[in-house]
Symmetry: C2
Subunit: 395 residues, 2 copies
Amino acid sequence: MKPSYKILQKDKKTKARAGIISTPNGDIETPIFVPVGTQGTVKAVDPKQLREMGAEVVLANTYHLHLRPGEDLIKKFGGLSKFMSWNGPTMTDSGGFQVFSLGVGKEGGGVKFLRDDPKERNTDDPKPRLNKITEEGVTFQSHLDGSTHKLTPESSIDIQEKIGADLIVSFDDLESPKYDYEETKKSLEMTNRWEIRSKNAHKRKDQLLYGVTHGGPFRDLREESARFVDENFDAIALGGAHLSKTNLYEVVDWTTDVVTSEKPRHLLGIGEVDDLFEGVERGVDTFDCVIPTRIGRTGFFFISPPSGNMKNRFRTDIDKPQFVKDMKPLDPNCSCYTCQNFTRGYIHHLFRAKELLSYNLISLHNVHFLVNLTKDIRKSILEGNFKELKKKWLM
Amino acid sequence: MKPSYKILQKDKKTKARAGIISTPNGDIETPIFVPVGTQGTVKAVDPKQLREMGAEVVLANTYHLHLRPGEDLIKKFGGLSKFMSWNGPTMTDSGGFQVFSLGVGKEGGGVKFLRDDPKERNTDDPKPRLNKITEEGVTFQSHLDGSTHKLTPESSIDIQEKIGADLIVSFDDLESPKYDYEETKKSLEMTNRWEIRSKNAHKRKDQLLYGVTHGGPFRDLREESARFVDENFDAIALGGAHLSKTNLYEVVDWTTDVVTSEKPRHLLGIGEVDDLFEGVERGVDTFDCVIPTRIGRTGFFFISPPSGNMKNRFRTDIDKPQFVKDMKPLDPNCSCYTCQNFTRGYIHHLFRAKELLSYNLISLHNVHFLVNLTKDIRKSILEGNFKELKKKWLM
């Protein structure tokens, strides 16, 4: 079965839409937040807990899985979804973003991104080392053992076919945010050539292949990229994790104005609360981001309004002394397993004592929080009150 | 309600018995293995997972909970069982074992125990420092911040009343295995005085207070201790974690021959597979031990016969290269959540990648393994084939 996308309801006032992506491993109701399971596991969260919270699809990183345990092993185990005992829809990225953005920096570019925020940095996540970019592809050294690897459009697709996710992504060149117009244009032309090679290499009919749009912060390049991807692919992935927020929203707008409405749109690597609302408003269907589990392991947990707001970025820190005797759940409005069963005081104790259960309980809550926020957003689109829900959260 | 114990069935050929301990938080079907939740959490295992696997009671350590988060906080949260969201029967020890055995060594004694096995050592578990032992009690320094604390029979009971477990233990002096007869006898006399003080300090009628038997490896002291505890307490705890196996089984025999049959018997800190069979055969009802979670975090998992046997101590190491492509569950005979849903190959990958889910999945399996082994033992007693089951495992 070939995955497909259908719009169920368009919002009257915005570009928001509620839809459904059908895949061989099940349906994905959109808009939806996609938890990231980098190495084939959403960090500190059990797949059963993911199912129980209503997660619809999990994204894993091709770069990490290629290096360990390897795509051949995953294929032998029946593909990613079975391998990790998730048994639902899955997605992989192309591996490009890791090779470029986590690397020591593209020659002449010096790529350093949002994720360098030390509060949210996963310090035990060593970086690959980027060696060389040619027309053929990218050579890099593994962060695990220093071994040399090459990623090309053909090899990225081959790896992703073996990993076997339902939704996969074309291999692209990642422009540096420091590039000027001419450099960005040159990078986009490389991306376009690589995307066509990705498309030509892709054989599996049961996978939906996303093209990726680029073009930095430049409107005409973004529009050119969007048209190119729309012409060649059935699904649109927006590359934007390295843009500032204002620019990000502009870029989304430029892109969704150009591409065919009846294709699913994924915003790569983005997932803050405000991004979800602003992205959906501009016509994005799916979002992936490591943020809920990454901040969860450092003790930060999401809170909903009125306690949660734009100023505190909808989060606070369980390590604070004020939570020692607090008998409330992490978020009093939350229906997750953690909030239905545990107090802030107990989780504060576990976190202070460095107990593994604390990382599980907080991460589970955070993933549930974003997944169910997008489910509420979907409901609001179906019921015609998306703008009201957005106002309630982002005022 | 006062906890009580009832024998349901005695084995015809041995001293094994199947019984039931009734507590205000529910019934405990014995024999049963008791998972240890040192700091108010069974390491890396969720309380819901404990319920689902059929765990009957959880033991927490008074020493650790006293230092953090403190008994007053636990009391405020409704007691240990509610605090940790376990909502079933709980047990605490007296705190004495930690202060003595994990300390730098009793003056003149130099206590070093089995747990010094580096393979199983939880290296991130710093030790308290023992300062002084007097008739009144023990002074020690916290392993957390160096602060000075005193533990006496009265304070141990006060702490345990506030923590609020259903089954609690008298404060005792822990003899060194290096003590000669006279030193052991002197230590036992101190234990006896401390146990009477514990009993006098105990006010809560809804808790069952265990007396602890001591006397080192000396038969007459062990028998004297057993008679003393039997005269003064409704429940018998056997102190023996520092004895060699042969001697341990002798000591259990000497003790259970002396004490009243209709009282529950707990073997403190013991829980290897062979110990469970040998202990039950000699009339022990309950066992606690950190072993399933401690070895679980280092990648060792329990396996049942025929792969598991006395020689490999019913375990193997998930880190072994042979498991890379292994599509079998950890233990093909196991019905736990891990074994029903995950392969050795996947868990090997998670463990190599240092993913937190690996510690959860292996620890869950290990706890399930021992809990359900004791459930099978119980069933065999009720069905009259305990000896056959023991032979199947320990031949």
